[in-house]
Subunit: 330 residues, 2 copies
C-alpha cells in the first residue's frame, strides 16, 4: 500500500491537522516511459504554505483532494523509462507520499555515495539553488559587501551566508535563539543577531555599524523594515520569501520602503525555477565547495509520513535547524 | 529690500502657516566671483516637504532660521562673476526669496527666448530631468511596454507619460478629477484613471487588462498596492516619490510587495541629482521634443511670495495642474 497525504481544505492562518488527510491507496503501477520511485525523503519548505492558497502565484495552487506538492528524493524500484534502471536514485517533485509513478520529467539522478540523500533536497537541491542564484544573480554580491541574511540558520539562509563568505563579503545572520546563532558562527558568519532575545535594531547597530549593502530576505515583516533602515547607497534587497507573513491573513508591507529612494536602492523578487537551466552547473560548484569544506550542510530529519503536520509546523515555529526533511519510507 | 521666507519650525503633518516666517532684509551685496540674481520664479515641489524633516535623507534638511530651499529662475542684475553678465538668466537653487547673491555653483544659464522662464524650472528643469532619467534609466522602458504613472497630471508625471508615448509604450495615467484626466488624453495618454471619482482597481482592469510592465510611482499609499497587484512578469517599479505619505507621521508600506517575488519584479528608488552630468544632454533632447510638438509643458503660475503657504498646499490638495510655480519678483 501507498500512504499519501492529500490536501483536504484551504487553511486560514496556520494550517491545522485536518488541513490534510492521510490515506492509503494501492501501490501505483507504471506505464511505458515511467519509473516507480520509493520516496525516502520529503522536502518541507516555507513555500508550501503559499501553494495551499487559491491565489494567482508563480505556480498553480495544490488542488483540494490532490497529493500535497513537495520535493523528494528516493530510489527507482521499477523502471520502464529508457534513462533509468531500478537502483537509481532520483530527486524531483514526488509529493507527500511513499511511492510515486512518474515519467520523471523534471527529475534528475543523484549519487548517494557522494552526499547523503537529504542533502540532495537541501543544499544540493531547491533551497541550495535558491541561495546560490538569489545571492549571486539577484543580489549581485561583490567582495567587501556587507551582507545581511534573515532565516540565517535555515536551509536557504545558511547557504546564502556561506556563499557570501566564499565571495569575500562581511556576513551577518539573523536567527532565533542562541543555538542557531552559535551555529552561524560555526559555519563562518561574521556576526549573528538573535531576534528572539535581542532588539534587532540594536543588533544591526552592533554588527553592521556602517549599514548593509545587501539584504537577503527570507522573513519579511519588521525585520525587512529594520534592514531597509540600514541600507547603504545603492543597496540591494533580494526578496526570497516572507515566512513571518505566510500565515497572516493580511501582509505587513515594508513601511521603510522609501529608504529605496533615499539610498537609490533596489528590491527585487525572484523564483528559483527561472534558473533551472543552470541548476547542474550550480550543483557542481556547490558540491565542490562542500568537498573543499567551504560549504557545510545541515539537515533536520524527522520520521514518518503520519508526523507531517507536526513537522511542517516546525518551519514556522522555528523548532528545527537547517533543512527540514521528513523520512517517509518505512 | 529682499523678502525671504525662512523655516521657523519643523512641521508635523501638513505644514501650517507659521511653519515659515516672511521677513525683509537688506538687499544682498556680492563679492568677487558672485552674481546678484533677481529671482522671478520659485519652483514648488513635493520633495520640499521631505527637506523640512530632521531625518537622514539624500540631502541635509533645511535648518531652522534658514531660507527655505527651492529651485528658482531669474535674471542677473549685477555680476562680479567671470562667466555671467547683467541681463543673463540663470536657474539654480535660489531658495524662497526675491534676491540672492551666489557664486553660481550648480546654476546654469537659460534662454528666455526659447522657452518661457517657468518651463526652465519645470519640464526643462528638475521635474523634467526626474521624469527623463526615471523612466528611461531606472524603469528602462521599451517599445510596447504598458506604462502606468501616478500623479500623472503633475510636473513629473505628465512628462513621464509623454516620454513613454514617444518611446512607443501604451501609457495610462492616474490623476485626480475629470479636468486632469481630460488633460492626460489631450497630451496623448492612452488611458486615464480618476482616483477621486472611480475605484482605482476597476480603472486598472479597464485600462490595463493585461497588467503593467512599468509603474512610475509619485504617490505611494494604496495606489502603489494596486499597481503591484497588476504587475506583469519582470515588471519594474520606479519609486520617485510618495506624495500621499509625506504629511503622514507613519508611512504605509506596500502590503502587496510580494508581487515582486511572484512576478520577478524590481522596485527601485532614485534621486535625480545622481544624473547631474547628463542634464544638459537631456534638456537638449527634451527641448527638441518640445519644438517638434511631441512634448507639452504646463505650468500653474501663482503670484506673490506672501502667498507661498497657500500655494505650497496645492501640491498636496491637488489644486493645480502641471508644474507649480510661484512668481516672487514684483
Amino acid at each position: 500500500m501507498n500512504k499519501q497525504l492529500t490536501l483536504s481544505k484551504r487553511p486560514v492562518g496556520l494550517p491545522e491537522k485536518d488541513t490534510w488527510t492521510l490515506q492509503e491507496s494501492e501501490m501505483p503501477t507504471i506505464k511505458e516511459g515511467e519509473v516507480l520511485v520509493r520516496q525516502d525523503y520529503i522536502s518541507l519548505d516555507p513555500a508550501m504554505r503559499g501553494w495551499m492558497n487559491d491565489t494567482k502565484s508563480y505556480i498553480p495552487p495544490v488542488g483540494i483532494g490532490e497529493v500535497m506538492r513537495a520535493g523528494s528524493v528516493g530510489e527507482v524500484i521499477e523502471s520502464k523509462h529508457p534513462d533509468y534502471v531500478a537502483g537509481d536514485f532520483l530527486s524531483g517533485w514526488g509529493g507527500v507520499q511513499q511511492y510515486v509513478a512518474t515519467n520523471a520529467k523534471g527529475w534528475y539522478k543523484v549519487e548517494p555515495t557522494l552526499a547523503p540523500l537529504p542533502t540532495y533536497i537541501g543544499t544540493l537541491g531547491m533551497p541550495g539553488m535558491t541561495a546560490y542564484f538569489g545571492i549571486l544573480e539577484v543580489a549581485k554580491i561583490k567582495e567587501g559587501d556587507v551582507v545581511l541574511v534573515s532565516g540565517a540558520a535555515g536551509a536557504v539562509g545558511s547557504v546564502v551566508g556561506q556563499i557570501a563568505k566564499i565571495k569575500g563579503c562581511h556576513v551577518v545572520g539573523i536567527a532565533g535563539g542562541p543555538d542557531k546563532c552559535a551555529y552561524l558562527k560555526e559555519i563562518g558568519f561574521d556576526g549573528a543577531i538573535d531576534y528572539k532575545n535581542e532588539n534587532v535594531r540594536e543588533g544591526l547597530k552592533r554588527e553592521c555599524p556602517k549599514g548593509i549593502d545587501v539584504y537577503f530576505d527570507n522573513v519579511g515583516g519588521e525585520i525587512l523594515d529594520h534592514a531597509l533602515a540600514k541600507l547603504r547607497m545603492h543597496g540591494r534587497i533580494a526578496i526570497c520569501g516572507a515566512i513571518s507573513q505566510y500565515n497572516n491573513t493580511s501582509i505587513k508591507g515594508p513601511s521603510n520602503y522609501l529608504s529605496l529612494l533615499v539610498n537609490r536602492g533596489t528590491m527585487q523578487g525572484f523564483v528559483v525555477m527561472d534558473y533551472a537551466k543552470q541548476y547542474s552547473e550550480a550543483a557542481m560548484q556547490m558540491g565542490m565547495w562542500m568537498m573543499e569544506g567551504k560549504l557545510k550542510s545541515k539537515e533536520a530529519v524527522f520520521e514518518g509520513i503520519e508526523n507531517f503536520h507536526d513537522t511542517f509546523l516546525r518551519l514556522f515555529n522555528g523548532d528545527k535547524m537547517g533543512k527540514l526533511v521528513l523520512k517517509v519510507s518505512e
